[in-house]
Amino acid sequence: MNEMEKLLNVLAEVRDDVDFASETALVEDGVIDSIDLTQIIAALDEAFDIHIQTGDIEPENFNSAGAMLELIHSYRKGKQ
């Protein structure tokens, strides 16, 4: 399973009615709300063993699965 598949599985656990693979304005269009976002951040922290900092909680980083994967990679490169 590659990283994107893993991410999509994690996201599907939070909201199985959202097509995370193709949505590109999850936040801007209000597809996900504050409860979803809190759950997504907690799920990403756990699944990818990272700690997303408040400063990175920006709409741009959560508008699409691709953006979230980039954020995860930035932590993997030793950001923390």
């Binding site: 801007e28 504050s34 976002l37 759950q39 909680i57 709409p59």
Partner: protein
């Protein structure tokens, strides 16, 4: 003063061009709101009798406020509904409320037509721009201040939401008290956090109307992103906040509050859940000159019945008082339970006389005369300074992000799912998680999916545990405390 519309008309006369309610790309002035509300009122008056429920299924927007005020012009009362709640819960609410009419946005038209007959639904945008002055005057002349203004639905422990009804008189009394006691200036500018179906919005909407100020309808997405939220508050020159503590805590924890930020902000008010002193101290450090007021009150007493202006320092670990009763409000502690009476009191739960009788009771200390008090279910005590302190709940009601949730309503929904024999849930406050435990054959995933179809999102449990048995108390009820102990023994919280 008998009608909240007197404020709207005064604001439209005094500050016609001044922004009333706005959001990005949408702005409605006081005169525009006045005009549109009368158009909607004229339309409704031609279709429904007086003092009928009007259900409002609209996005939080200036147009939604116009629909609310339009209902009032028809001398009806309004119920704003959370448009994201599942259809089954909407239907449950509609069966209690029996709305005479539904005003909706275009995107909710199909959902609205599931609730009432098609003729009783109208997309608000399509209401023509015509005012029938004579009809409106006739309706106005019949109005008394005891007429209902709104009914807001709140979680019910038996699974059916309760509609708290509130009269014009209660809102008039509350808002006049608030504007004076909180020192709101003419033209004040609020940033709204509360959804319109949550009673904290009553202070937002009507105190700005009373002071001919303006209410900025903050985008919900802004609350997810502290930087965006700070930019919004700066850009809009917001001078007053009335938010749930969890929203203020999120901003405080972002580390973005600093001396020199939010220069226009003068007043920070909070209500809806316990305010942690740690959060208060972070705000005070960044904005030492602002006024901080803690408020307390269930929906049944018109938003707020007690208040405490922060005048001394508190340690992070202290509890903040909820203070003193508002004007025309009586607060009693009966066996430690906070009971409230006065002008703020709701006449009861709409179309639910038994629920009303259980919670709205005769004051036992005044047997000589009929005096009704509301038993809040909150426990309290007076401290040595004579200030009221909140101690917690006596039942299984919880607060999550300010939302009032009866665990019993979640359990009812669980028990209705095929494959669940018995459901139980508890709230883990430290991690802000609702944990569900159940017996039966249903798997965790399908249970969650079913609950999403039955409950508003903020009520859906975060964690699921299938158990062989659920422990019971001596009286045969599920023992929530013991369930929690067993789950936590097995899955220790790190």
């Amino acid at each position: 003063m008998r009608n909240v519309l007197d404020w709207l008309e005064a604001a439209a006369a005094r500050a016609p061009q001044h922004t009333a309610y706005d959001q990005p790309q949408v702005r409605m002035s006081w005169s525009e709101l006045w005009q549109r509300a009368r158009e909607i009122g004229s339309f409704l008056a031609g279709r429904v009798p007086q003092q009928c429920p009007v259900l409002i299924l609209m996005e939080k927007s200036p147009a939604c406020i116009a629909a609310m005020m339009g209902s009032v012009y028809a001398n009806c009362f309004y119920t704003p509904l959370d448009s994201s709640m599942p259809e089954s819960r909407m239907k449950m609410i509609a069966s209690v409320l029996q709305p005479a009419f539904v005003l909706c946005d275009e995107r909710f038209e199909t959902a609205a037509k599931q609730l009432v007959t098609e003729e009783a639904v109208c997309v608000t945008e399509r209401i023509p721009a015509s005012v029938h002055t004579q009809v409106l005057e006739e309706r106005r002349s019949r109005h008394i201040d005891d007429d209902l203004l709104y009914v807001l639905f709140t979680s019910g422990s038996t699974g059916v939401p309760k509609g708290v009804s509130i009269t014009h008189r209660s809102v008039i009394d509350f808002i006049e008290w608030a504007c004076t006691s909180l020192g709101l200036p003419e033209g004040c500018r609020f940033a709204s956090q509360a959804p319109f179906y949550f009673d904290n919005s009553v202070l937002d909407i009507y105190s700005t109307m009373r002071m001919a100020g303006s209410l900025y309808l903050t985008r919900q997405a802004d609350f997810l992103f502290p930087k965006k939220l700070m930019q919004t508050l700066e850009r809009e020159k917001i001078d007053t906040l009335f938010w749930v503590p969890s929203a203020l805590t999120a901003l405080a924890n972002s580390g973005l509050l600093d001396t020199g930020c939010l220069k226009a902000l003068r007043r920070v008010f909070f209500c809806g859940e316990v305010m942690p002193c740690r959060t208060l101290n972070l705000w005070k450090k960044a904005l030492p000159e602002a006024d901080y007021v803690n408020m307390y009150g269930p929906t049944e007493i018109t938003d707020v019945c007690a208040w405490y202006r922060v005048e001394r320092d508190f340690a992070d670990s202290d509890s903040l008082p909820i203070g003193h009763p508002c004007a025309n409000t009586r607060i009693l502690l009966l066996d430690g339970e906070i009971c409230v009476g006065g002008t703020c009191l709701s006449p009861g739960y709409y179309n639910a006389p038994e629920k009303t009788e259980a919670a709205f009771v005769q004051n036992p200390l005044r047997p000589q005369i009929r005096e009704i008090i509301y038993k809040t279910g909150d426990m309290g005590e007076w401290n040595e300074r004579g200030e009221l302190m909140f101690l917690g709940r006596r039942d299984s009601q919880i607060k999550r992000n300010g939302y009032r949730i009866e665990l019993g309503e979640i359990e009812c929904a669980m028990n209705a799912v095929a494959g669940v024999e018995m459901g139980c849930c508890y709230y883990e406050a430290a991690r802000e998680r609702i944990v569900a435990a159940y017996t039966g054959t249903a798997d965790e995933k399908s249970l969650k999916a079913s609950l999403k179809m039955a409950l508003p999102k903020y009520m859906v449990p975060d964690e699921y545990h299938r158990r062989e048995v659920l422990p019971r108390t001596g009286s045969g009820k599920i023992d929530r405390l013991q369930v929690r102990r067993e789950v936590e023994d097995e899955y220790p919280v790190v």
